[in-house]
Each structure stands twice: as structure tokens, then as C-alpha cells.
Symmetry: C2
Subunit: 425 residues, 2 copies
Amino acid sequence: MKSYNEMSKEELMKEKESLTAAYRDYQKMDLSLNMARGKPAPAQLELSYGLLGAVDPSDMIEDGIDTRNYGGLDGIPAAKALLASMVDCDPEQVIVFGNSSLNIMYDQVSRGMTTGYLGETPWCKLPEVKWICPVPGYDRHFGVTEHFGIKMINVPMTEDGPDMDMVEELVKDPAVKGMWCVPKYSNPQGYVYSDEIVKRIAALEPAAPDFRVFWDNAYCVHHIYDEPEKQKKILNILDETEKCGHKDMIFEFMSTSKISFPGAGIAGMAASDNNLKDVLKTLSAQTIGYDKINMLRHVNFFRDGKGIREHMKKHAAIVRPKFELTVKKFKEELEGLGVGSWTEPSGGYFVTFTTNPGCAKRTIELAKEAGVTMTGAGAPFPYHKDPDDSTIRVAPTYPTLDELSQALDVFVLCVKLAAVEKKLG
Amino acid sequence: MKSYNEMSKEELMKEKESLTAAYRDYQKMDLSLNMARGKPAPAQLELSYGLLGAVDPSDMIEDGIDTRNYGGLDGIPAAKALLASMVDCDPEQVIVFGNSSLNIMYDQVSRGMTTGYLGETPWCKLPEVKWICPVPGYDRHFGVTEHFGIKMINVPMTEDGPDMDMVEELVKDPAVKGMWCVPKYSNPQGYVYSDEIVKRIAALEPAAPDFRVFWDNAYCVHHIYDEPEKQKKILNILDETEKCGHKDMIFEFMSTSKISFPGAGIAGMAASDNNLKDVLKTLSAQTIGYDKINMLRHVNFFRDGKGIREHMKKHAAIVRPKFELTVKKFKEELEGLGVGSWTEPSGGYFVTFTTNPGCAKRTIELAKEAGVTMTGAGAPFPYHKDPDDSTIRVAPTYPTLDELSQALDVFVLCVKLAAVEKKLG
């Protein structure tokens, strides 16, 4: 099909007419489809039913810790080993917390605000705190920093990771205290940070001694393809920072939320000894300990890193056709039209669709009115402000293949319609 | 036996000699006994094994919420109802959080520090924040306020609750932002606030609009006796504050930690609509939700308030002999000696032993050196400072009856020895 860029006004008006007719047909169908949130589909949840009965009452003492009772502030060693296997770090570098890595990150920012890291001034005593936000990024990350009144600074993402020239410049400001990163299968693009980018991050020389990279390795084992050669590799950030003598600069987060049950998994943080000790001091005021029985449940069910990898293959078998269908629809329906571009992730939970500037909000609105809910416009940006109004996060995992197919048909139509509307002005 | 107060110096010296000989015999026994922490005994934990298999994979949608997936920030309605039944409030007044009520309290203080309640100034922006601490009290409560640098003010406890004349005076200071309360079976005395005290608390007119009573109803169903007439009643604080138009003044906390498994239970907070809305705003930045499968597990296992009451009778059958033995030993060995006094709780997890002034630390030290660990001296006071050095928290639940008996024999001996030493100067 001819690109919209090459169409005359008459052709565009004709195209609009035809698109509008098709759109009205969808509206009449009273659809209710959702590609908004990165939620596993029910079929994926069923993979973890074995977890529910994975604790044997007669075998609840693990590494000398009675998982039934109080104690064990930093988590049971076997659960540390399980989470460590996901990011290839030493189990002793890990604290196992509760069910939510987002909550750990929130707590870590909160500790920065009220306690301060390693003896530094609590940020609530400072006139201003700033944060580096690679964009587009994860809306809930930005929600945490916004909640604490931290000033967020956009840094563009490339296929290889954040624009490091900008990052290196920004960290010269001592008010810059942190940076969000989803290094592997980034949310929402599915990009993987290149070795060069990881090395440049590890080598950062921030002016603030309490600058921390929040390395949210949420999708570290969430490959879409089983073949090892198709699974993207990433350098180990803790190793790289250690080489640079910057190990205290990293908080690395991991979680089983999208491995076992979202909301009923276990989550952890890996960090340097200094940081772990610092966290445990606060943690001993905050709680007596996290849910050790749920840790044991996960240890018994998954056993080890190999067990997790095998389990993730089953997830991949369910989500792979959905990602492939998404990209296929985009190619078939939109390629060459000049209406936008998209990512082709090999892992994670999202595809990013980039519309022509000024078209994202309208596309999402059109989809909504035809019964297809997308992530809100602007969500992947701090303060919900997409400067180009062009980024749409597509979450293909939750719907069934049939639902997804229909939702994508509506979506690509809305992309085209919004693009034509824009061109016609 | 003759009171130490009536003994001559010679008699006291002879007594000391005999006590010291007995003490040395214990030291030779190489004991390792613990009456330090309020932990359920293994026999109590076994009561909840049914919880481990209480979730049926085919029945995990509860009140329309898929407990397997994300969502449900405030908890599943059935779990709200379960926790509400424990403190006799409306389920809609409850948010169900994670596994630790201490963590909820910590988070609430943290919110006061960084966000502020209902639009009030965050406390971290104020020159000073003060807190009312009935003493002796729960060490971990004081640990939270100490962690945030809040100035703690001691208010003496009576058998009926805190000294309300002092409290009413203190809340006239707008820097006083909160008060810790364990209203029923108080930690560490086992006292229950009288109706008059509850009414006076509800009627408080604090200068600070963001003053909150942290009503930690940790032991609301933890009766030692089954007979209803022996179970202490307490007025409902939410009802009482509502009558006074002060409903926003209360955060009430409850937990199943000492009902099911410590660390693997569910915990909640009851509060006014205004407060709940205020909390949910922060909570939506903090987490996607708590462990709904564990909520479902508890709902399925306990069913309702009646189920919890029946379950607590089984706990009572295990802990009752331990409390009775403790008080019996104190009576048999110490009554009339002028060496101290003790509480006789009908619920909760602790007995308070009050030594003669200046003898608590020494008693605990002597016990330690004979292999019996008690809660650290000063622990039940802010900053670990017991002004009279006389309060010892006795936790009788964890040891077996035999271990407890031996530990108490050592303890009463140490009480006597410390008292004699003190008298001899």
C-alpha cells in the first residue's frame, strides 16, 4: 500500500472515509479488550499451581531456620540462592523481602529520604533531589519518584540503553541521587543494554556519594525464545561496578512476580555488603521478617536456576505467539505506511509502538472508544508527559490469542485513522 | 519465709550465701533456656498446618478478584471481613496489607514523615516531632519512632491503661503527633484498657490535627482462658472516636501473626474513610498489591470470626499452663519476700515482673550467666532506658513446660540474689 506521506489530500480523505467506516463497524461490536497492563494470562498462572502445595509440614526447617516462626530478617539462604541464580550473583549479596520488588524500590527511595544511605544526609533535608529517568520507561518507577517529590529528568533511550553522554553529564550535579534502569528487555521497548552501556554505567563518577542506580532486573529470565542464541545476554552490573570500585552504587532488584504468581511471589535486592548492612539496620526497625514460608514454597517448587529456566520455557511457549502475532499485524497492516514504528522484543512483557508525533493520545482515545484499552497516553514518561505524544506501550500477554488478534486489528486501524486525521490537520 | 525487708544484715548474708550456692549449681548445669521473645511454641505452630494446603487451584477467584494475578490494592473483601471480625469493625474500614502489622505501623509513621496525613505538613519538615509512649511498652514500637528520630515521652501505665491526665496535657503540644497503645493484654503487662480510659482517649483534643493514636490490637483474640467471663472486654475505639467526632484520630492494627504462622500471616489496618483514602494514595505508589493468595489461604482456613475463636482456644490450651506455671512459681518462691511484684495476665504473650528499684539489669545479667536469656534490661522503654531499672518482660510461651519450669527456677533465684545483693549494698 502507498505510504500516507505520498498520498494527495484527496487520497487521504478517501482513506479516512474507508477507515472511519471500518472503525464504526468495530464500535458496533461492543468489544471489551485490554492491552494495558503487563499481566500474565490465566494459562501462565496455571503453570504455578504446584507451588500451592509445595510446602511439606514435616519439613519446614530450612538451613536451621524455622520458617514457621519469627526470625530471619534477611530471608532464608535457599531463597537467596534462588533469586541470586536469576541474576548470577553471590547468594550472600541478596536480601529476600516480601512479594513486591516495586515495594522494595519504594522503601529504598524512602530510606534515602528519611535515613540517608551510608551516613549521608537524608534527602528530605535537601532543597532539591533529582533523578535520571530513561524514557520511555516504567510508569510505576516514575510514580515512586514523583510520590516523593523528586525532580525527574528525561534521558532518551536508544536500542542499546540510555543516552550515556547525557547521563555522564547529569551525574556531575550532586542533587542527582538516582537513576531508574530496566536493563534487560526494557519496559516498554524490550531493549537490552549493550555491554558498552553497562560498562559506562558502572564507570559513572557521580558527584553525589549517595547516587544509586536502581537496576530493576525484572525480566532477567523472561525470554520469549528458548534457543540460547536468541536469548539476549547482559553484563553483570555488580561485577562491572566492582571492577570500577563502584559497587556501592548499585541496588539490583529481582522478583518472581511474572514467574510464579504476581502478588504472591518473592522479591529481592542484591547489593554490596555496605549497602546490605545499611539496609538491614533500617529493616530491623521496619519488620521482624518477611514471609519465609512463601520463600520455602518457591525454593521447593523451583529448586534452582535450572528449575526457573525450565519453568520460563513454559511461559515463553504461551507468550511467544502473542508477541509474534503483534509484530506480524504491525508489519502486515502498517509497514511502509509512514504511520509509525515498533520494537520487536525477544523478551519481557511489552512492545513499544511509536506513532507519528502528536498521534499517540488520539490513537489510544480511538481504541478506547472502540472497546480496546491501551496503557494511558504519556504513562511511560515522568509526570505522564510524552513530549512527542508518540509512545504507546502495547501489552500483549493477558488476552487470549483470539482476543489479542481482534484488539490488534482495532489498534492498527486506530493508528491509521489518527495518522490520517493528523495529516489532514 | 521472712521478707528480706525484715532480715538483719547477718540473715541477709546467710541468705546470699545459700542463694549463691544454689546459683553455682545452676551454672554448672550449662543450661540454654530462653524467655526473651514472644514467640509461639512449635506445638502452637502445628495448629495451622491446615493452612498450607488451604488454597484450591480451581477456586482462586474471590469476590471477582483473581487472587493469582495483580490487582486488589486494598486486599480481598473476604480477608477484610476476617480481620474486621477480630476487632469488631466494618470490613470496609479495613485495608489488608502484607505479613507484618509492625511493617504497617512503620509505613504509617514513614508516611507521616514524608507525605503528611490528610494534607498536613510532612513531619520531616518540622523542627521536632514528639510521641507519647506508655511505659513499660512494646520495644519494637519504640524502635520505629526512635528510627525516625521522633522524641519519645514516657507516660506511666496503670492497670487500667496509660495515665490519661498526663496524656491530655501532652497533646496540647502541637509537636506531639502520635501515641503507641497496645490496649488489650498490653505488652508487656497483659493489662486491658478500662472503658474510662478508652473513652478519654477517644475524647482527646490534640493540638495537632495530624495526631494519631496507633492502636495496636495485636492480642485482641489472644485470651488465655476459654470462659467468656474470664476474657477481658474492651470498648471499640473506632466506635468511641466516632461518637466524639474524632474518627480520623485512630489507626487500628491487627494481625494473624500469633494466630497462624508468625511471619507468614496477614495483617491489616482499620481506620476512617478519610484515612483509608489517604493511605491508598501513597500505597498505589508503593506496591501493586499484597499477597492475595495468602489472604485467601487464611480466609479458607479460618472462615470467619468464629473459626478464629475456635482456633484460639487451641492456642490457649497450650499457653495457659505456661502462664499459670509462671505465676505459680512467682507466688511460691517470691510472695512476701519483698523482692518484687508481677502481673497475672488473662491474655497476650507476656508477664511483667517488677523487681525492687535498681535490680532488673542485675537480675537479667545473673540469669544470662546461668544460661537463661530474658528480654534485655530496659527494652520495654524508649531508648532502652528503664528509669527505675526494675522492669523485666517475661515471655513464657516458647519453651516447653519443662524448660519453662527450669528457666523460672533460675529466674526466681536470680531475682532473690539480685535483691539481697542490693540490700547488702
